[in-house]
Symmetry: C2
Subunit: 197 residues, 2 copies
């Protein structure tokens, strides 16, 4: 690939910077698609356009959805008393795959990150408050990440929600399934000790 | 992401299977593009279509090129007596980046791999022969990989080219720059000993 091959350069540029894809991977993918798999290249171009046109956000929980209200929110068989708050559609999908939560979700589409200039107004805390105060929600389960940003988000959300009289809980912190204690980091062990049951 | 979100599922499917991208990475990229970076999504879709339409193969060396004859082959200032044979456009790009070869290239676009049913007829050995016997080429440098398939390809190409009276050489095998001998595999050390200079 050289500077005069602008379409090839352009493809590498467009691939580079996607999560987990650097310059070398971008080149490898571009070469692979152009040299070995033109049908896959066309499928990917079509799939991108298709997803761009059809995927929006659920009006109720804000997750990625093709319907105005997502499949989960449209399911009337779930427990409306429980609302689980997550940072992203990917987090929601992970929780849903466990099959152990039967309430509804609310996707913040972000988390507090003062260093990046993301404050309480930039994530969906206000819509969360409206959603949580619909009269049927009794418990809000905060399932934001156990990172500094996720913890800050959970803290702010908890304060706001508790002020409205809602019961607020947080995912349990502890030793991950399948772990040998020896290899678990000390902070996690300390939390698991404190929260023992 | 659930089964009813077909555009999202379709995008994940189209991403999965690209070199280095599995199910998890594909999901991560799809969510990222849809949730955080629609402009990047559109740029990628356009770049794919653009590359598909504009990138073909150089008529002379078979590398990926937007012009009928690639930039390297069109450069009349290079040494026409040397022809370097590589497996792929990526290999050609790597050699070119070293800046230490001033001849022309020939890209096989493949390598012998009897286990995958790829024989001498499936890679560009016949066009290579025509290209190498143009009357000006004096030395053919075989720069196929030092894998079983690359070695087999080099072996077959060398036999065919030598039968036509051409001088055939192979990239040197040895200890990679920056290596500690202790950590170099034994086969490489044995070759480096045998080819010492």
């Amino acid at each position: 690939m050289a500077a005069h091959d602008t379409a090839l350069t352009g493809l590498v540029e467009a691939l580079r910077g996607l999560p987990g894809i650097g310059q070398r991977s971008a080149q490898r993918i571009a070469y692979h698609l152009l040299q070995h798999d033109r049908p896959a290249l066309r499928r990917l171009a079509l799939a991108l356009g298709d997803a761009d046109q059809r995927v929006g956000h659920c009006a109720r929980c804000h997750t990625l959805s093709e319907a105005p209200v997502c499949h989960t929110c449209a399911d009337t068989g779930r427990d409306a008393r429980q609302l689980c708050v997550v940072e992203s559609p990917a987090d929601q999908a992970a929780l849903e795959r466990t099959g152990s939560f039967k309430g509804y979700y609310f996707v913040l589409l972000g988390r507090l990150s003062p260093l990046d200039g993301i404050g309480a107004g930039d994530i969906g805390l206000k819509p969360l408050l409206e959603r949580a105060c619909d009269g049927t929600v009794e418990e809000v389960i905060l399932a934001t990440g156990f990172t500094a940003e996720g913890e800050a988000t959970a803290h702010v959300a908890a304060e706001t929600l508790r002020a409205r009289g809602l019961r607020v809980t947080r995912l349990a912190r502890g030793v991950p399934a399948g772990s040998e204690i020896e290899y678990v980091d000390l902070g996690t062990i300390a939390h698991a000790l404190a929260d023992r049951r």
